[in-house]
């Protein structure tokens, strides 16, 4: 970009494209263009947040149960990692405006390191979901052959396993070691599974009479006259929890793709900063990349409480 402007240097500042009056107009045009893109991104993620809103308002207990399978420690850690990367990004823009090449390079590298740490934690979490049968597609989970203490011969029974006992307590204790005494249960076909404890939330809501209309039908088997008989139908409830995990994987997955694209942008920025392309009068690419990076951070600021924390207060009555 800077090179094409060089030809016009006889009457312009370096970095000023010929179609703009001055640097201020150019900067604002770049900013408005980027904000238009970000508004589109708001609507893009907004569609998914709408899906979340619709399903959660109908099946809050299934969402709470699904949420309690996620590890709030990793989610919280990743939130902090992204906030640190946002700080280093903001400081990158600050030093670009000062024309300080070395600090730009250092801070871009730091931003990339934190972005990579985020993706690493995400990979750990996804692996954990795969190992414990919470990937929402049957057959895409780790296949664990029969032969344990659990006798689950029918598909109906294999929907009921107990792999997450320590998860909730570990999250409540803010312990970094949630994986110690977990029992892996057989899952020969790699199905999506929930645990018996998840049903406690339904019972809790049933006793407290705060089931939604959709839940009264969506969790229970049909008795006389095709009316829900108050007996929990595990398969029906499991499929509502499955909706939560679909939303979890799609939203965090798209967020992770945004992070990967962000890292690519950062790599390009690093190269340009290394060459000393950004100065006090030309730093729009740094500013623009920063806007993108902060936007991705904001998406996570909402994903963290909405996915990881929404069911935790139901656990409070139990322990801790």
């Amino acid at each position: 970009m800077a090179h094409s402007a060089d030809a016009h240097e006889h009457y312009h500042q370096p970095g000023l494209q010929h179609q703009f009056e001055d640097m201020k107009q150019q900067e604002e045009s770049v900013s408005i263009g980027m904000w238009m893109f970000l508004v589109q991104e708001i609507m893009f993620f907004g569609g998914l947040f709408t899906v979340y809103l619709v399903f959660r308002s109908r099946f809050p207990m299934a969402f709470a149960a699904g949420s309690n399978h996620l590890d709030a420690f990793w989610g919280g850690l990743n939130t902090l990692v992204l906030i640190v990367s946002s700080l280093t990004m903001a400081l990158t823009v600050y030093y670009a405006q000062k024309g300080n090449r070395n600090m730009q390079v250092i801070l871009i590298v730091l931003t990339m390191i934190f972005g990579t740490v985020f993706l690493g934690v995400k990979a750990i979490e996804y692996t954990d979901k795969y190992n414990h049968g919470t990937v929402p597609v049957d057959g895409w989970n780790k296949r664990i052959p029969e032969g344990g203490a659990t006798h689950s011969s029918t598909a109906e029974h294999s929907a009921l396993t107990l792999p997450f006992e320590t998860k909730a307590s570990a999250a409540a204790a803010t312990d970094a070691e949630p994986h110690e005494s977990e029992v892996i249960h057989p899952n020969p076909q790699g199905r999506f599974m929930i645990e018996a404890k998840d049903l406690e939330l339904v019972k809790q809501a049933q006793e407290g009479k705060f089931l939604t209309d959709a839940e009264k039908i969506g969790y229970f088997s049909n008795g006389e006259g095709n009316k829900p008989d108050g007996q929990i139908d595990v398969a029906k409830f499991r499929d509502k929890v499955r909706i939560f995990f679909w939303i979890y994987f799609v939203m965090t997955g798209l967020h992770a793709i945004h992070m990967i694209i962000g890292l690519g942008v950062m790599l390009w920025l690093l190269w340009k900063a290394w060459l000393g392309a950004f100065t006090a009068e030309y730093f729009s690419p740094v500013e623009t990349a920063g806007l993108y990076w902060h936007f991705v951070d904001i998406v996570w600021i909402f994903l963290f409480p909405l996915l990881y924390l929404l069911g935790r207060h139901f656990l409070h009555g139990g322990g801790h």
Binding site: Q13, P14, D22, M23, K24, E27, E28, S31, I32, W35, M36, L38, V39, I42, M43, G46, G47, F49, T50, L53, V54, S57, R58, A72, G76, L80, I83, V84, S86, L87, M89, A90, L91, V93, Y94, Q97, A172, F210, D213, A214, K216, I217, G218, A280, E281, E287, G290, H294, F295, D297, I298, I301, F304, P305, L309, L310, R312, H313, F314, H316
Partner: protein
């Protein structure tokens, strides 16, 4: 020519504008607010607030998230110092999002029981 460029730089409009930004202590302060918000939202989620009114936990979590977002948008994304056009663009984004939420939910929340499942 280099001399001429340098002269222009010192009077550069852009530079004047960006001197109003909050500087390193300011950025660190915003960072501190974001970290406190994250820790707060983590621990508030373990307290059962739904006894006050249903959905209180979610409301508190969203209020903290909105506060965090506001600080990021205003300071890290520099919207506070931007032109009215960019303010308008930003606010329009959230306005259209609110329309999408409102119009979808006014449908789903007013459906009779059981319409959604068979």
């Amino acid at each position: 020519m280099a001399h001429q460029t340098e002269q222009q730089n010192t009077h550069s409009h852009a530079q004047e504008d960006h001197e109003e930004h909050i500087g390193i202590p300011g950025y660190l302060a915003i960072f501190g607010i974001l970290v406190v918000g994250t820790i707060l939202t983590y621990f508030v989620a373990t307290i059962d607030l739904d006894g006050i009114f249903p959905g209180a936990n979610t409301l508190v979590a969203l209020l903290i998230a909105f506060t965090k977002m506001t600080f990021v948008v205003l300071y890290f994304m520099h919207v506070r110092w931007q032109s009215k056009l960019i303010w308008l663009t930003t606010l329009a984004g959230f306005f259209w999002l609110a329309i999408m939420f409102a119009f979808v939910m006014q449908d789903y929340l007013t459906r009779g029981s059981g319409t959604f499942t068979n």
